[in-house]
């Protein structure tokens, strides 16, 4: 039971009370099967928002530019908020969780809603498929091309930014390539560009087709060749597996397990789905040392709360407000290295907000929170927070049970690990009756530091 909870906490966004009675009776193998049942079906691409032409933007007045910026921002917010809602309600939570992982790995700021969706479609299509295809997709992704200045990477004047991050952050890791490898790889990616409509284009006149020497090999390499040479290096499998292990299993790495996983990943030709399935089917994944030891990221926390408490955010900006206040705005990572995660999510301000979040959603917390003013960003205020909670499925779950049983059941759904004083909390709440008892208990359980963990 604890194991199934762990599986859904890590491979998805936690549990909804309605699914718990069935899930907890399942075998672990059946639960893994169900999680993977939709893998292999092509993820249906999300619909692209319209193009906002960048042509002639320079001709606009400052007021017109601001109006265009605002419209664009609203579209980007819609893509962002819809993704959070999808994480919370998806029939295929593994796909969303894996996509979120890759978004952090290929950290990239998107400038328009359309470009954000384009990138999201690449991540979704290959999230559990071939890492090679994923890399090729990202190397041709207009958002990434712009973020890492590859549209300025031309034969006469190479820009090394993409080549550098491809090696340092996306594939093989620091210490396994030379400065010369970066220079040569940058030449191979010259001409991989994007047009004004935000589409990928290969500009052959800007491409350098000369011979390059990269990682000991020589040839007239293009970007695809560079990626293939990187994938030939076992270190690339090791680097990716370590990232995956730290995200899905434990920040403290078990070197033997990672070595074994790396070998398997390499031998499977970098098949992500197979690797993930192997991890979730391994006994060590469910070892006590791996349970409830990860701090949820702000988006994971939000998606989980929306899922379990059937929450509605009619306004996109409410979700954006919370992402900003808690410190994780999708499509806007702090830099190309992504969100550092773990304890960096926590400071006095974010922790108090996290612990007061349930109270805020139940409209009982007495907190006010002003976001920092940011240039080029519309101001968002807490008093515009528009949210509703629906506990019907919790009431349903608790029907016909004693209060102490109810409390245990609620803790079971909401917490991976309970504090030692859990029993006392239940007793204190017993002065309330019926739904009030359940409501207060849910709110308290969500206000525990333990609730921040998965």
């Amino acid at each position: 039971m604890e194991k199934i909870k762990h599986l859904f906490g890590r491979a998805g966004f936690g549990l909804a009370p309605a699914e718990w009675p069935t899930l907890k009776e399942q075998t672990l193998a059946a639960a893994v099967d169900e999680l993977f049942s939709k893998v292999g079906q092509t993820a249906s691409p999300l619909i692209l928002p319209e193009i906002v032409s960048e042509e002639g933007v320079k001709m606009l007045s400052e007021e017109e530019k601001q109006a265009a910026r605002k419209l664009n921002q609203e579209r980007l917010w819609a893509v962002n908020a819809d993704w959070v809602r999808r994480m919370a309600s998806s029939e295929n939570p593994l796909l969303e969780r894996m996509t979120l992982f890759w978004h952090g790995h290929f950290a990239c700021k998107s400038n328009t809603g359309r470009m954000a969706v384009q990138q999201l479609n690449v991540l979704r299509q290959h999230a559990l498929g071939s890492f090679r295809e994923l890399l090729l997709g990202i190397a041709r992704d207009p958002s990434m091309i712009r973020y890492l200045n590859n549209q300025q990477n031309k034969k006469e004047q190479p820009n090394e930014n993409f080549a550098r991050e491809l090696m340092e952050l996306f594939t093989i890791g620091r210490g396994h390539y030379s400065e010369n490898d970066i220079k040569e790889a940058a030449r191979a990616f010259t001409g991989w560009s994007s047009n004004l409509q935000g589409e990928y284009v290969f500009r052959s006149r800007q491409h350098d087709d000369g011979r390059k020497t990269f990682m000991g090999k020589t040839g007239a390499f293009n970007g695809t060749d560079i990626i293939d040479i990187l994938l030939e290096q076992k270190q690339t499998a090791a680097f990716i597996v370590r990232r995956i292990y730290r995200y899905f299993v434990n920040e403290k790495v078990d070197e033997d397990i990672v070595a074994d996983l790396s070998r398997r990943f390499y031998e499977s030709d970098y098949h992500i789905g197979q690797l993930m399935r192997y991890i979730f089917e391994s006994d060590w994944f469910y070892a006590p040392a791996n349970l409830g030891v990860k701090i949820k990221s702000p988006v994971e926390l939000l998606a989980g709360m929306i899922r379990s408490m059937d929450m509605q955010f009619p306004q996109n900006h409410s979700i954006l407000f919370l992402e900003r206040a808690l410190g994780q705005v999708l499509f806007n990572p702090p830099n190309v290295a992504g969100w550092p995660g773990s304890r960096t999510w926590i400071d006095n301000s974010t922790l108090m907000l996290r612990l007061n979040l349930a109270g805020l959603f139940f409209k009982v917390a007495d907190i006010a929170f002003d976001l920092k003013e940011e240039p080029e960003t519309t101001k968002l205020a807490m008093n515009q927070l528009d949210v509703s909670v629906n506990l019907a499925s919790f009431y349903q779950l608790c029907q016909g049970k004693s209060q102490l049983e109810q409390f245990d059941l609620l803790a079971e759904v909401l917490l991976q690990k309970s504090p030692v004083f859990l029993k006392e909390l239940a007793q204190k709440n017993q002065r309330l009756s019926g739904d009030d008892f359940i409501k207060l208990s849910v709110m308290q359980l969500c206000s525990l530091p333990e609730f921040q963990m998965c």
């Binding site: 007045s61 400052e62 409830g292 030891v293 990860k294 701090i295 206040a325 702090p334 830099n335 190309v336 290295a337 550092p340 773990s342 304890r343 960096t344 926590i346 400071d347 006095n348 301000s349 974010t350 922790l351 108090m352 612990l355 007061n356 109270g359 139940f362 409209k363 009982v364 917390a365 007495d366 907190i367 006010a368 929170f369 002003d370 976001l371 920092k372 003013e373 940011e374 240039p375 080029e376 690990k417 504090p419 030692v420 004083f421 006392e424 909390l425 204190k428 709440n429 002065r431 309330l432 009030d436 409501k439 207060l440 709110m443 308290q444 206000s447 530091p449 333990e450 921040q452 963990m453």
Partner: protein, 396 residues
């Protein structure tokens, strides 16, 4: 269930069970200040330095900014070459009294013109091709400075903590108002949690969350108490920035155990109609500071205080078509304090002739400014904190 009932019902009798020592609040007793204080003021959005500290004898300034230049007649002449924007008249006397040092053309190699990225670089103290997730003042806390284990030792006036004050091990403390802060921690349920028994494991993230919770509760109480010690009678501008500075002066005067104060003033991204907007902001800045300095001087504290003002970048030399300026590079940095070793203009005015694609070239690396503050004012190991060697300067 209404709010009152919720609070009543969730209030738990404080059962004082065994609490592992590492979860106890910080050592009690009234902490008090040791030695020097640093105040950092961040002007967000990219303040136009050329219209702040104006090279009013330079024809190129007027040629590049026919609509935007401040007429030489109006400029507050400081040294015959540079002068302050007239909106800053209220702090001109600090210059005359040798309590202001101006450093021109501060920047870094390969400057980035994005607000977010350049602010990250200034706050973390990294180079433009490095990505760090901690700030220079946060790493000062990490370096085990005296009393650094207290989170409020580095206090930011905001509900959100800036990267500048986040370390690898320790963080500064965010608070916009002590009463508001206290309300957010006075949730009886959360209060009860800190008094309960926990499984003690130092490495555990859960234990860390409890520790931050308890530190926050303790710090909120400390800051509220300290905010009541001294009520300033100086009149500050009635703006958020003015209120922040007033609270700051009150905490300093109360001899609080706070070493570094961090505060921001935003709105400097003046792409259009810059003159009026920037002047209003500079006036807020100057009038706030003028009151603050007056307050500190009254209590004989200005000689223990150093105030650094910076922005993520300056703006382009040439005005744009909308009566504003676009994102630029190097900028001036202001230092104020009662015990500067070198006051006045530290280096020559920016060179408006030799530009990089229309932008100023930097002369002083911003990390030299940080190194000077860390080594000479905070008595810390600058090369450790900045992860490299940057030659300190001689203004303190």
């Amino acid at each position: 269930m209404n709010r009152r009932n919720f609070l009543k019902n969730s209030a738990l009798a404080s059962s004082s069970l065994l609490v592992p020592t590492f979860l106890h609040a910080l050592p009690g007793g009234k902490g008090s200040r040791t030695e020097k204080i640093l105040v950092v003021i961040q002007l967000s959005g990219g303040n136009d330095g050329l219209n702040t500290l104006i090279p009013f004898r330079n024809d190129l300034y007027y040629q590049n900014r026919p609509r935007l230049a401040v007429p030489a007649m109006e400029v507050l002449d400081l040294n015959g070459e540079l002068g302050l924007n007239p909106a800053m008249a209220s702090i001109r006397h600090l210059y005359d009294q040798g309590e202001m040092c101006l450093i021109n053309s501060v920047g870094y190699p390969n400057p980035d013109r994005s607000h977010f990225r350049s602010m990250d670089i200034w706050q973390s103290g990294s180079g433009s091709s490095e990505y760090w997730s901690s700030g220079w003042l946060g790493r000062y806390l990490d370096s085990d400075c005296l009393a650094c284990e207290k989170p409020y030792h580095l206090l930011e006036f905001s509900d959100q903590l800036s990267m500048a004050v986040k370390g690898e091990q320790r963080n500064g403390f965010a608070m916009s108002d002590p009463k508001k802060m206290k309300r957010s921690v006075d949730n009886p349920f959360l209060t009860s949690l800190s008094q309960r028994q926990h499984e003690a494991d130092h490495d555990d993230h859960v234990a860390y969350l409890y520790k931050v919770l308890i530190d926050t509760q303790y710090s909120a109480q400390y800051l509220l108490d300290q905010s009541k010690v001294y009520a300033s009678s100086v009149s500050y501008p009635n703006t958020p920035f003015g209120r922040d500075l007033k609270q700051m002066a009150e905490l300093i005067t109360a001899d609080s155990d706070i070493k570094v104060y961090y505060v921001s003033l935003g709105g400097f991204d003046t792409h259009a109609n810059q003159r009026g907007r920037q002047d209003r902001l500079l006036q807020q800045y100057a009038e706030g500071l003028s009151a603050f300095v007056q307050d500190l001087k009254k209590n004989n504290l200005f000689q223990d205080t150093l105030i650094l003002t910076f922005s993520e970048f300056g703006r382009r030399v040439q005005q744009n078509a909308s009566g504003g300026t676009d994102h630029g590079t190097a900028n001036n940095v202001f230092l104020m304090g009662g015990s500067l070793k070198k006051a006045g203009s530290y280096n020559t005015a920016p060179d408006l002739m030799t530009l990089d694609n229309g932008d100023l070239l930097y002369q002083v690396d911003f990390r030299q400014v940080y190194a000077t503050i860390l080594e000479k004012w905070l008595n810390a190991d600058a090369s450790l904190i900045l992860r490299g060697e940057f030659a300190p300067m001689s203004w303190v």
